[in-house]
């Protein structure tokens, strides 16, 4: 795994936090220690040996959603502060300091292969030799299996040759909490199962899984032997091929699409979901104030809904306030769906909405 780029970290530490208005953590917490440059300063002092590692220091460095909101305004084009903080946090683990709030979930990861206690997988598993492998992800499986159920029902409807596997967590939470060895083990388990499946494509509705598969598995020595596709893009393909035929939804009011931050900023995928929604006759789309690449995180990034639940909920409430009044919120990320719902919003997964229109 990459080491901290000390030059980049220091330049961030010397900046007056020109990105802090786009950092949901800084704005919801109102606390200097967790503002972007505040974390960079703290990390610099820790790595310089000017401060001893402590739970309090690790807790501050862990208060990052990995949403890349800060990059929207960052004058340092090569800096990804979340990656630097991730690398810095591994030094805490090496020093024997762990995030107490992550301990029970980390325990589950080690024991069961999922932070939630039981491993992921769709409600209706389908083993076999299908061409498309649907990967549910443990957050979707634990919190809202209905979305995966809707996705697979759509696959059935469209006649997709698909299969599922006995999933392990992708490794995103382990990476988040500094468990490099564990992340590699989980990646190896998944890689072996995915390779053995013989599938030609992997489709998942979880941006965190996609991020980990595409950006981390190679460096963890577990590069996947097949392309990883987002579910919105895949559904759009099915609609365009005429294999799914959305109908008008009776009584449906306007909807707004919440762009998951990883999908929008790292994968630059914001058009496909909107085009897909446009195929549902009569559905009107009302844009949120900050949308597409300028989206704001729901508060669930980097597992903050588990380790900083109050902060995470506060971020969700702030995000909910940015949506057009009266519009139903649709998203394509199990973290966003769960966290915005916890913040008091009525939120649908894109697959669920599409299933209502197609099935």
């Amino acid at each position: 795994m990459a080491e901290v780029n000390r030059k980049r970290l220091l330049e961030c530490a010397l900046c007056p936090n020109m990105c802090r208005c786009e950092c949901p953590v800084a704005q919801a917490a109102g606390r200097e220690a967790v503002a972007p440059s505040g974390k960079a300063r703290l990390a610099h002092l820790l790595l310089e040996g000017r401060l001893p590692w402590s739970e309090a220091a690790l807790e501050a460095l862990s208060a990052c959603l990995g949403c890349r909101g800060c990059t929207l305004l960052c004058p340092f084009p090569e800096l990804a502060l979340d990656d630097e903080l991730l690398a810095a946090r591994r030094n805490a683990a090496a020093a024997g300091i762990c995030l107490p709030a992550a301990a029970p979930f980390d325990h589950n990861l080690k024991k069961y292969g999922s932070p939630y206690g039981s491993r992921g997988g769709p409600a209706a598993a389908k083993y076999g030799d299908g061409e498309v492998l649907y990967f549910t992800g443990c957050t979707a499986a634990a919190n809202h299996p209905a979305a995966a159920g809707a996705a697979l029902a759509l696959f059935e409807q469209a006649g997709v040759s698909y299969q599922t596997i006995d999933e392990y967590c992708c490794g995103y939470p382990a990476e988040t909490w500094g468990g490099e060895t564990l992340a590699r083990q989980l990646a190896a388990e998944n890689r072996a199962r995915i390779a053995k499946s013989g599938a030609r494509r992997l489709v998942t509705g979880c941006p965190e899984c996609r991020y980990t598969f595409t950006r981390r598995y190679t460096e963890w020595g577990a590069a996947l032997p097949l392309p990883v596709v987002d579910s919105a893009g895949f559904f759009l393909e099915l609609v365009r091929e005429g294999r799914l035929k959305p109908r008008a939804l009776e009584g449906a009011g306007p909807v707004t699409y919440h762009d998951p931050c990883l999908a929008a900023r790292l994968e630059e995928k914001w058009e496909e979901p909107r085009i897909l929604l446009g195929f549902i006759p009569g559905l009107s789309l009302a844009e949120a104030a900050c949308a597409k690449r300028s989206t704001r995180c729901c508060g669930g990034g980097r597992m903050l809904q588990l380790t900083f639940p109050a902060l995470s909920e506060a971020i969700a409430k702030r995000r909910l306030a940015e949506f057009p009044a009266g519009a139903a919120v649709v998203t394509a990320c199990p973290f966003c769906r769960e966290n915005l719902a916890a913040g008091g919003g009525a939120v649908l997964d894109l697959a669920e909405l599409l299933a209502r229109a197609c099935l």
Partner: protein, 490 residues
């Protein structure tokens, strides 16, 4: 490891037992999550964006640690915290987002840092009467975003807008980049809500003007937390402009550009942005504009009602061309709009061992060009100075603000160099009749020249006001030059 001995300016700290007792009482007021004694939070609020803070940070040192950080949720909590601090004689340093450039937020004598960022609500937007009431801890960019979404602008766009709060703007008497049209922060205040050092809450009335004695709320604008805590403000707003016009002209020298700017303002036009760069900064910012080579660039941004904007655009163009300005089109203004918040070069230079800072002053039109030349000469004469450049950034019928940028690689102690170059700049400014600050305020460092700025009688009057409102001297001690900042004055 960081410890008390490496705090460069710390004059005092609470005993551990005193801090624990106070923390318990503060938790009753602000809740468990509203108080921290953690070194992580204390370290995070030990400084602002004063360059000495960055220079010490690079050496693993810090200016001064607070004993406790408190996050009040509302005005009542602020009042209770101040009353409690007064009872205990504990200093209180208000804190926004730490973008101040003069050390104004450093808790020199420890005590409580009052972090106001959780007071961040827009209480009321009154579009008919064009005013908004907003809490002090709201981030500036989010304040402007809130207004823009509803069809209004606050008109206050400082370079720090993304990393400063509304309360911070008021406390340091700020000016934004668009101030030549919309005014400075003091021009925008309809009313303030502030907490006096004894915990009394003062609220101004939301009316367009009064003739009911001195404007009490104006006493707090620029008070930098030394007289009390500004907790909310009712500010003027404007409908979003329907027209925007971008113009730029390159002049043979600063004098020609200044004369054009003076006549534009004198005629009654009010471009939102008027910026005139010296040769060095023109070359640095606009290298791609061939006609600007060896010239001084003037950029103008005019906005508002389309009829007024059209008339002002014509007036500005005529004045600029009449003084030899070469029309360089809208490109330079677009470039400025795109780059105006990018201060990454300062981080890079600090990292490479440089001392970097900016010094903003003001003068009449008559003194504007001589002041620039004299300050530049004085700053370049300080050993180690690599660059002293400038631009005029705000204009008035009476004169303009001059914004100098310095970069030095000092041969010896950086703090010594820092004091020497500032002394050269400030003494020169004062000797030519300039004001020592246009919009960054006084903070810690500029307090060294407050007596020369105000005169003995003027500063004494300010001290009496401070004594009357804050007899226990708990509010942000050592700032505004009202009392000695012992370690820094040494």
């Amino acid at each position: 490891m960081l410890d008390f001995s490496e705090m460069m300016l710390q004059e005092r700290q609470l005993l551990s037992s005193e801090s624990s007792e106070l923390a318990g009482k503060l938790r009753v007021i602000a809740g468990e999550q509203g108080v921290s004694a953690s070194p992580v939070d204390r370290l995070a609020t030990c400084r602002d964006y004063w360059p000495m803070g960055s220079l010490w940070f690079l050496e693993g040192k810090a200016p001064a640690l607070p004993d406790l950080v408190v996050w009040p949720a509302d005005t009542a909590q602020v009042a209770a915290v101040l009353a409690l601090a007064g009872e205990h004689g504990v200093p209180v340093t208000p804190y926004g987002e730490g973008s101040g450039a003069l050390g104004g937020a450093i808790p020199l004598r420890g005590g409580i840092v009052l972090d106001l960022k959780r007071m961040n609500q827009v209480r009321e937007l009154d579009g008919e009467n064009l005013m908004v009431t907003v809490e002090c801890g709201l981030n500036g960019a989010l304040y402007e975003e809130h207004l823009n979404r509803r069809g209004f602008t606050g008109g206050h766009i400082p370079q720090s807008i993304r990393c400063s709060t509304v309360g911070g703007w008021l406390a340091c008497r700020a000016a934004g980049q668009f101030s030549s049209r919309y005014g400075k922060i003091e021009d925008m205040v309809v009313a303030l809500e502030a907490v006096l050092p004894d915990g009394t809450v003062f609220s101004g009335r939301r009316v367009p003007r009064t003739a009911t004695g001195p404007r009490l709320d104006h006493l707090f604008i620029g008070s930098e937390g030394a007289l009390g805590v500004i907790t909310a403000a009712t500010l003027r707003i404007w409908p979003c402009p329907e027209e925007r016009s971008l113009l730029s002209f390159a002049f043979a020298g600063l004098e020609e550009g200044l004369e054009a700017a003076r006549l534009i303002i004198r005629a009654g036009a009010r471009p939102a942005v008027v910026r005139l760069y010296d040769y060095a900064e023109t070359g640095h910012h606009f290298p791609e504009v061939k006609e600007a080579g060896g010239r001084c660039m003037l950029i103008l941004l005019i906005e508002g009602d389309r009829r007024l904007a059209a008339a002002e655009t014509q007036m500005a163009r005529e004045a600029a061309l009449a003084h030899g300005g070469v029309d360089t089109g809208c490109g330079p203004v677009e470039h400025w709009l795109e780059r105006r918040f990018n201060i990454s070069l300062a981080s890079k230079l600090f990292r490479q061992g440089a001392v970097v800072d900016t010094i903003e002053v003001s003068s009449t039109w008559t003194g504007a060009a001589p002041l620039y030349r004299a300050m530049q000469e004085a700053m370049l004469a300080v050993e180690g100075t690599a660059l002293a450049s400038g631009h005029y950034s705000h204009v008035y019928p009476e004169g303009a603000a001059l914004y100098m940028t310095l970069c030095g690689f000092p041969p010896g102690e950086k703090a010594d160099y820092y004091k020497r170059i500032w002394s050269a700049a400030m003494e020169t400014c004062l000797s030519l009749g300039g004001a020592i600050s246009h919009h960054h305020g006084i903070g810690l460092h500029r307090g060294l020249w407050m007596e020369q700025e105000h005169g003995g009688a003027g500063l004494e009057a300010l001290r009496r006001v401070k004594q009357a409102l804050d007899p226990g001297a708990i509010m942000n001690p050592g700032k505004l030059g009202l009392e000695e900042a012992l370690e820094w004055r040494k």
